[in-house]
């Protein structure tokens, strides 16, 4: 049994990089679950490609984390052989894919967030972090270009598609606040010039999202912190099930490689 104190004893930079890797990996897995289940072929391919961008991002962070840890663990060990309580992704990334509207609203939310966040991450004093951010931001800009028209198309489409968007907004709003939370250890990295200040991104995020949703006549104004825990390894009930699926192969056939 891994207790959360293990996470708390990690060195801040390692903890930071690993958390960003977990964010990307869990979201990537949720997106990949659309493969062969998309509403039509092109969208199926598109979502799988976004998933691929995120798995690439996760790999870059895991490789760097493995190097920082320096205990001989590889990116695969970190992704496939850690338990639920050792994952420190923010909860919004791990939520089940839901219906297509839910997936696209979540994607829109995180796309707006990462457009702001990666821009700040580019200013980090850690050159490895900057290199990963420079690679990722180009992809994230493209993702937003794709998720925006989907939100409008569904919100301004049929009564049902609009209702599904509204349901997704309602369901997700409890999980948005955590994106902007700065725990003490992350604040220390921020003071050292390595990590961006998440709390400063809340206002621009709110402004962007509210303005965009207003085009479709949706009043969205509520992103207070309601549910937290991801960074301390405390998750929703969904992550454990996801890891069962995701880690099955490596757990039952240890050391297997592509």
């Amino acid at each position: 049994m891994i207790d959360t104190f293990v996470i708390h004893e990690q060195k801040p930079l390692y903890r930071f990089i690993l958390a960003l890797a977990d964010d990307s990996l869990t979201l990537s897995h949720r997106l990949a679950q659309w493969c062969s289940n998309g509403p039509y072929l092109e969208e199926d391919i598109a979502l799988s490609n976004v998933a691929l961008d995120y798995i690439g991002r996760a790999r870059m962070f895991y490789q760097y984390a493995a190097k920082l840890e320096d205990k001989g663990r590889t990116e695969d060990d970190l992704a496939y052989l850690r338990n639920e309580r050792e994952f420190t992704n923010l909860l919004i990334h791990e939520l089940p894919k839901g219906d297509f509207a839910f997936t696209m609203v979540r994607q829109f939310f995180v796309d707006v967030f990462y457009n702001l966040y990666l821009e700040e991450l580019l200013k980090s004093s850690d050159e490895n972090v900057v290199a990963i951010a420079a690679k990722s931001i180009k992809e994230t800009r493209y993702h937003l270009k794709r998720s925006k028209p989907w939100i409008r198309q569904l919100a301004e489409g049929t009564e049902e598609s609009r209702q599904r968007i509204l349901n997704a907004l309602e369901e997700l709003k409890d999980f948005v606040g955590e994106l902007f939370e700065m725990p003490t250890w992350e604040q220390e990295l921020c003071d050292a010039g390595i990590a961006p200040d998440r709390s400063a991104l809340q206002q621009p995020w709110d402004d962007y999202v509210q303005k965009f949703l207003a085009i479709s006549d949706i009043d969205y104004h509520d992103t207070v912190l309601r549910i937290r825990g991801g960074r301390d390894g405390i998750h929703t009930e969904h992550l454990g099930h996801m890891l069962c699926d995701m880690q099955f192969l490596q757990r039952s056939h240890p050391n297997m490689q592509w």
């Binding site: 092109e42 391919i45 598109a46 490609n49 691929l52 790999r59 420079a134 794709r146």
Partner: protein, 184 residues
């Protein structure tokens, strides 16, 4: 369509080089191991036959050093196109194989992230090759011309195509559906 109606691309009218490619070309010309770069010109993207790693902008550097027992060690430095690009492993293997076949046994590949790959690094010849494969080359304003008939009247079908680096378009003049190599 007759050739007279083909809308020429900008690079046909004024042959300019993008600074990012000019820098790469200069870097290669200054290298002390030009013959190694030339050998690597045999290595193509596994999914884009005829498009070399050099033309694609993936090949960034070739370094030669001597190890403790004075054996020549070659390091091929590449940068991935997209962070999740699954072709990186095949490219690395092919680069090692090409140099091995030419008699160089100590070869390794280093994958770097900085400078981040951009479509500006693609050579003019690479863009020509893309067109020959019926793929529209990247355009900084996303003005996409049909690679088959040259018409500028095209529409986007899907923002992702067969791979992460491409989008799917349709030509409104000749109805051809084609891949567009996205500007990045």
């Amino acid at each position: 369509m007759t050739s007279a109606s083909i809308k020429p691309n900008a690079e046909h009218i004024i042959p300019t080089l993008h600074p990012a490619f000019a820098k790469r070309r200069c870097f290669r010309a200054d290298s002390v191991c030009g013959e190694l770069w030339d050998i690597l010109d045999q290595v193509c993207d596994p999914e884009l036959p005829g498009l070399t790693l050099w033309d694609l902008g993936v090949l960034q550097d070739v370094q030669v050093s001597n190890d403790a027992s004075n054996n020549q060690q070659i390091t091929v430095v590449i940068t991935p196109t997209y962070s999740g690009c699954p072709a990186v492993d095949a490219m690395s293997e092919d680069a090692i194989k090409a140099l091995n076949n030419a008699g160089f046994n100590q070869v390794k590949v280093a994958v770097i992230l900085a400078p981040a790959w951009s479509t500006d690094m693609i050579s003019p010849n690479g863009k020509k090759q893309l067109r020959a494969l019926s793929i529209a080359p990247p355009n900084e304003h996303d003005n996409v011309d049909c690679p088959v008939c040259g018409s500028g009247e095209t529409e986007v079908l899907s923002q992702f195509g067969s791979t992460a680096c491409k989008a799917m378009y349709r030509c409104l003049s000749c109805s051809e559906v084609f891949d567009y190599f996205k500007n990045l």
